[in-house]
Amino acid sequence: MADVALQPNRVGAAQPARKRSGLQKALKRKSTAAFLMTLPLIILITLLVLYPAFYSLHLATLNKSMQRFVGFGNFEFLFKRDTFWLVVKQSCIFAITAVLFKALIGFIVAHFVHNIPAKGQRKWRGMLLVPWVIPPAMSTLAWLWLFDPSYSAFNYTLSFLGIGPIPWTGDAAWARFSVILVNVWYGAPFFMIMYLASLKSVPDQLYEAAAIDGANWWQRIWYVTLPMMRNIIAITTLFSLIVTFANFDIVRILTAGGPLDHTHIFATWAFRIGIEGSDIPLGASVSLFMVPILAVAAIFILRDVNKRGNEA
């Protein structure tokens, strides 16, 4: 017994003598090791993220053949084009509407899943998350086929209700609706799963206290659930805003920007100009317009993440 108790003491006593000389070396070794471990990450981020990001600032100031410096010429050119303002408008409509509906549907569905007995929740959650799991390029093809002008399965079904064939991707207003619908379909499960995780962390006592005080279901949501979930709602919405604003796959496959450029958003228009039209500097200038909104969202997310880090 005494032996066992002594052992740690002996280790403790022996350590300092050995440590003093090796301490500095160990520290040095530790930081060198740490540096080496993060080196691939630093190289990757610097060469393939930071460098291209700043390079696109440079690209945006060149002319089409990339031989002459034109300053803000590309931006001046863009500001004079109607299509550009159409893209700005559509990007904002698309991102804001889609995120709003994703958040709303996700919130409602999360509540319904949370309402049913815990035993069955897994099954429902599993089914409802499927849209998020399928690669968006693949599922958008299915939507494209559902929206097909002559064989649309939706129009077939609606015709029984006497609703005439809807030009899902042929008419500007309907095409805008369709891309938003597909985006909501794809993104709502993400909100659902995030909200569900945070709903589970709201203590039951709060609801019991509210029920005793005579709160109805609406008051319980407004005064208990929402304040408790405020953080996660904010961060999920900001994340989704970034992803939706930068969306490419869905619009590209569903409408490719048409009809008459009415559904183009920044990413698809930049692709059309920069890669398909091989005017790389102009394409780079278009995609740079995403930066302000991304930066604002990123600042808010970062503030929130740091705040939570300090609390923990």
Binding site: K30, S31, A33, A34, M37, P40, L41, L44, I45, P52, A53, Y55, S56, I105, I108, V113, N115, I116, W124, G126, M127, L128, L129, V130, I134, P135, P136, A137, M138, L141, A142, W145, L146, D148, S150, Y151, A153, Y156, M194, W218, I235, T236, F239, I242, V243, A246, F248, A270, F271, G274, I275, G283, A284, S287, L288, M290, A298, I301, L302, V305
Partner: protein
């Protein structure tokens, strides 16, 4: 009085007086009703993919009831799975995803370990930087990256554009930041006593990582692997920009560029291809749902 309560109790859920259990029962019924609606909405496109994939071209163009298969046939599956081109897409996709997952793990696990445990100059800034990188979308970087790789080809003579392996350089920009970020979270949650004990026993930093951290944080590692795989399998913009020859394409781009020929849409084959392309992530999801969801929620909740 009681009959009035029953009337009110029926559809509204705002009732104040009815018995608790009756309220609960109605809430439950409404929940199931709406959940069924949402589940139908969620599963409609994949189910429709399956329905169409079982139809022959003749049946599709006959415009019979689109929701039902009258003469089920596997000809679309046979057609695709015996076409060298489609198998090539599948093979390219698999190769890219597996390599990207490996590269991602090799970069992000040691980096996350260093950032979570070995405080060094600038480590906090770097962790924040990694998180910020994760927020930079692909649609912002594809044009400058394309130009960078074109210039690289001009300078060195190594042509990377239009080769499938160029994606091995590009995809890690999407996967590494997120995987590092969630691994930092998982590693930070491991009690310090564990690695202190290992160090006292004479383990090196590398041994601490492989013998202690990786086994303990295995759930996080699986979640990160799943994330890296699904991202590289689903990525559409980068392969569309960087690869054009049909033998270099990955699955999503391949299906869209080769099966859609002008105005002729071979919908039976397109839907079959889409379903086969969606299968690997769906299978992984079906078996590892909890890890999948853990990875999904960790990104925003782990600090």
């Amino acid at each position: 009085m009681s009959s009035v309560t029953i009337d009110k109790a029926a559809p509204t859920r705002t009732v104040k007086y009815g018995s608790m259990s009756r309220d609960r029962k109605w809430a439950l019924r409404w929940s199931y009703f709406f959940l069924t609606l949402f589940a139908i909405f969620s599963l409609l496109p994949p189910i429709y993919m399956l329905i169409t994939s079982l139809k022959s071209s003749a049946e599709i163009s006959a415009a019979t009831n689109p929701w039902w298969v009258f003469h089920p046939t596997l000809e679309n599956y046979v057609g695709l799975l015996t076409s060298n081109q489609f198998l090539r897409f599948f093979w390219n996709s698999a190769l890219v995803s597996i390599f990207v997952v490996t590269i991602t793990m090799l970069i992000s696990v040691p980096a996350a370990f260093a950032l979570a445990r070995m405080r060094f100059w600038g480590s906090a800034t770097l962790a924040t930087g990694v998180f910020l990188t994760y927020l930079i979308p692909d649609s912002l970087l594809f044009i400058p990256l394309f130009k960078v790789f074109a210039l690289f080809g001009d300078w060195t003579g190594i042509q990377l554009i239009n080769r499938w392996y160029v994606l091995l350089f590009i995809y890690p920009t999407l996967t590494v930041p997120f995987c590092t970020w969630i691994m930092i979270g998982y590693f930070a949650s491991i009690p310090k006593e564990l690695d202190e004990a290992a160090i006292i026993d004479g383990a090196s930093w590398f041994q601490t990582l492989t013998r202690i951290f990786i086994p303990v944080a295995l759930p996080g590692l699986i979640a990160a692997t799943i994330f890296a795989f699904t991202v590289s399998w689903a990525q559409f913009l980068y392969p569309l920009v960087f690869t054009t020859s049909t033998d270099q394409l990955v699955l999503p781009v391949g299906i869209i560029t080769t099966l859609i020929k002008g105005d002729v849409f071979n919908w039976g084959q397109i839907m079959t291809g889409a379903l086969l392309g969606a299968a690997p992530p769906l299978i992984i999801y079906a078996f590892l749902m909890d890890y999948y969801i853990a990875g999904l929620t960790a990104g925003a909740t782990k600090g």
